[in-house]
């Protein structure tokens, strides 16, 4: 059982990391939302697998919460916000795509170099999981700071949370209370961001014209 357990956990964790890179790569808001939904779904699968392997039934609830809220409710809500507020559908980045990806790979290498020697005592599953989770967290931060669009910044924040939950489910015996508080904080953050959107929208309206004029060659 040991080897297959490790392989599947490793596979799910790495797929989440690859999807984080996918989030960096996307240029359309709907693509970003879809990728994030997929990542949250994989997080749910990873949590469910860990529940099966560790025989810890409360992790099933974690998986359910991740699936319901993060994979379904939040992406759908964000999609409706984008449509209703007529937010720009393209993602504007601070650096070019190549430089962002290079920084991303550098962050992954950094987290591996950091985690593996430090956790020498723990078991193999925990070490890999921690390294992957730290990479997802760092990439979530990178997404937040290299995107000018507020929606993608929110998605980056959510992706960071995904990484934290991945780290938490990888370790044996995470208490249920932590999961509830995490879920609540997600909801609170969502509400706050929703409030921000209404403020940003005013700014967007005055900035919109400005953006359109300085956009590369595409006049209205």
């Amino acid at each position: 059982m040991g080897s297959i357990a490790f392989d599947v956990a490793h596979l799910l964790g790495t797929s989440m990391l690859v999807l984080s890179f996918g989030l960096l790569f996307q240029r359309r808001i709907f693509g970003v939302l879809n990728t994030f939904a997929l990542q949250a779904g994989l997080l749910a699968a990873a949590a469910a697998w860990q529940a099966f392997v560790q025989s810890a039934p409360h992790l099933y609830i974690t998986a359910l919460i991740a699936l319901l809220f993060k994979a379904i409710v939040i992406p759908v809500a964000l999609r409706r916000i984008v449509v209703r507020l007529q937010i720009h559908r393209t993602v504007e980045t601070v650096f070019g795509m190549g430089l962002t990806m290079i920084i991303g790979v550098g962050l992954v290498a950094l987290s591996i170099l950091l985690v593996l020697p430090v956790t020498y005592q723990s078991g193999a599953i925990t070490r890999e999981n921690l390294a992957l989770a730290l990479s997802v967290v760092l990439l979530g931060l990178l997404i937040m700071i290299t995107r000018r669009n507020a929606v993608t910044q929110v998605v980056g924040f959510m992706s960071l949370e995904n990484g934290l939950i991945l780290a938490a489910v990888g370790v044996r015996g995470m208490p249920f209370v932590v999961e509830m508080s995490v879920a609540f904080s997600v909801m609170v953050a969502f509400i706050i961001f929703g409030v921000f959107f209404f403020h940003i929208r005013e700014r967007f309206d005055t900035l919109d014209l400005h953006y359109l004029e300085t956009f590369r060659g595409e006049r209205e």
Partner: protein, 315 residues
């Protein structure tokens, strides 16, 4: 069977199957698009027709223009004969390892690019300049995949890679998965498939590979098209050899095992063709400068694959 006979069979089999593979891909694409499509054996008839025609060569073309099709075709055919398909026992296999194989294909691309510039028209230049950009990113991505596989297995010789992966199954290795994704992206770019280049386009401004061979006609065009078909077969065969080496006949096997290997290989090629057709119909062609990002992603996936090998093998 003796080694020489096996190698000859391998050589001729590749030549025989390549047009059928292209025909299969076109047929499946047509069916998915709701058309009936040309018969699977149509590429054979196309090549035969082209071979019989007179070759028209431009006034400003040099000897390089006329020699390039033979060189390109031979290089790709030799390359595809060096990739183990149904048997691990290949006489010419020690001639070139993975890196030399990539360089051999690079040589074919070098001469195709020069042929695009030879006549002195702008369309050839478009094709060559775009091909140079695509190649400059696709080759490093391929080399990163080679790095991953060689780190795992300890060699870059294809026969030994396949043999080692057959004997010691490595399980669900994430690095191999990432490497598979990376090499698929490279294969799509190198074979001028959607989303990098549309092989069926008639709009010159969207062409990459077609633009380089725009001035070719008659038997020269037949050879260039044949080389493109062989290249598709080469990449599918390479992916099958490195990532799904099951049922390949070990060295010194009898006719029964070779037969099984043959059938398995034909099945793998057919499956690959169908998957390619599915992928091509489900995605749109990218703008030319998005291709560089696509390939940069492939390169970085390759880098990630190597880094993850360090993780799973332990530092």
């Amino acid at each position: 069977m003796t080694a020489v006979a096996l190698q000859l069979l391998h050589l001729l089999l590749m030549l025989a199957v390549a047009p059928a593979l292209t025909g299969l891909v076109r047929k499946v694409k047509a069916l998915l698009l709701g058309r009936r499509g040309a018969p699977v054996l149509q590429p054979y008839r196309d090549i035969a027709r082209l071979l019989r025609k007179e070759a028209i060569v431009a006034d400003s073309a040099s000897w390089l223009f006329r020699v390039a099709p033979y060189l390109v075709f031979t290089a790709v055919w030799l390359g595809v004969s060096l990739v183990p398909a149904f048997s691990l026992d290949l006489l010419l296999a020690p001639t070139a390892d993975l890196i030399a194989l990539v360089a051999l294909l690079g040589g074919a691309r070098f001469f195709t690019a020069l042929a695009g510039l030879d006549v002195g028209t702008s369309f050839g230049g478009i094709g060559t300049s775009r091909e140079l950009m695509i190649a400059s990113l696709a080759e490093p991505a391929m080399l990163m995949v080679i790095f991953t596989v060689s780190l795992l297995v300890g060699t870059t010789a294809l026969a030994h890679i396949a043999g080692t992966l057959l004997v010691h199954p490595v399980g669900l290795r994430v690095s191999l998965g990432l490497g598979l994704v990376a090499i698929t992206m490279v294969a799509i770019a190198e074979n001028a498939r959607v989303p990098v280049d549309n092989p069926a386009t008639h709009l010159e401004l969207t062409m990459v590979h077609e633009a380089m061979i725009l001035e070719y006609s008659g038997r020269h065009l037949a050879l260039m098209e044949g080389a493109a078909m062989l290249k598709l077969l080469l990449y599918l065969s390479l992916i099958a050899c490195m990532f799904t080496p099951w049922a390949m006949a070990p060295p010194g096997a009898g006719p029964r095992e070779i037969g099984i290997g043959l059938v398995a290989w034909l099945g793998k090629m057919a499956a690959g063709g169908v998957l390619l057709a599915l992928f091509e119909t489900s995605i749109a062609k990218m703008r030319v400068f998005r291709v560089s990002e696509f390939l940069a992603a492939a390169l970085l996936l390759g880098l990630l694959a190597v880094i993850f090998l360090y993780v799973s093998k332990g530092l």
